[in-house]
């Protein structure tokens, strides 16, 4: 394995490393978004409110996350109060 030398953070010498960091970030971002949405629901936020802050449609955020959250909280939705949004 070749030695990794970087000039400084944010400027990888090897383009492959730079691109792989993007992939790692994308995967982490997906997981972080899912976690933040879940936490917001637990805090009692509606899908509409979450969507508004994320800057996407309610349908989009619901489609992307509802299934996972349902699977994580079988039978008991994390959001206990409030009307359906």
């Amino acid at each position: 394995m070749d030695k990794k030398t970087r000039t400084r953070v944010g400027r990888p010498e090897d383009p492959r490393e730079g691109l792989e960091a993007v992939v790692a970030l994308r995967r982490t971002l997906e997981a972080l978004e899912a976690a933040r949405v879940e936490n917001a629901l637990i805090a009692g936020w509606s899908w509409a409110k979450i969507a508004e802050v994320l800057g996407v449609s309610k349908q989009a955020v619901h489609k992307k996350h509802a299934k996972r959250i349902k699977a994580r909280y079988p039978g008991e939705p994390p959001r206990r109060k409030g009307s359906r949004s």
Binding site: A21, A31, N39
Partner: protein, 170 residues
């Protein structure tokens, strides 16, 4: 992607690779996932060769995670910190039913596997061919992962030929 005459062992390994990829939050099947799949399925000469060189699934998963962590560090992000901030809800795993495509590296590895099969004059595509196909891409994540695990590629290849020889004698 249409796969050709995979043995049951290779097919199981590829299926296991998809499971590993999802578990690690990979949104496509990488060549390193094919390697993890062989380790997970514990099938065929590929798996036997890896095991005999002391490569375990756990170690390989850890390396995969370490590579992700290092990639993030290179742009100033600490995965630990992200995890800590987001709490228990943070989970890199993708749902089991999420369809993910083959990456081009994984496709290349399987095309390479077929070439290895033909080169060796075999009429089945076993995990040893898949592993040889993976090793064909020196720039791939799997080869780097093996390097980090302290596996010499020549030793791994040699071990596979050895095990093939033994199997042929039976």
């Amino acid at each position: 992607m249409k796969l050709f005459r995979l043995t049951d062992r290779s097919r199981k390994s590829v299926e296991a690779a998809f499971k590993e990829a999802r578990m690690l939050g990979h949104d496509s099947l990488g060549d390193e996932d094919l390697l993890l799949g062989i380790l997970r399925a514990e099938e065929g000469i590929g798996a036997a060769a890896l095991a005999s060189l002391g490569v375990t699934l756990e170690d390989a998963r850890e390396e995969s995670e370490a590579m992700l962590s290092e990639a993030l560090s290179s742009i100033g992000i600490s995965i630990k910190e992200v995890h800590r901030e987001a709490g228990d809800a943070f989970d890199m795993r993708l749902p089991d039913d999420r369809k993910i495509p083959y990456s081009s590296r994984a496709k290349d590895a399987l095309v390479g596997a077929r070439k290895e099969m033909l080169r060796l004059g075999d009429d089945y595509l076993g995990t040893e061919h898949v592993l040889l196909g993976i090793l064909g891409n020196e720039d791939g994540a799997a080869v780097r992962m093996l390097g980090r695990l302290g596996v010499a590629l020549e030793a791994l290849e040699e071990r596979m030929y050895e095990l093939r020889g033994r199997e042929a004698e039976r």
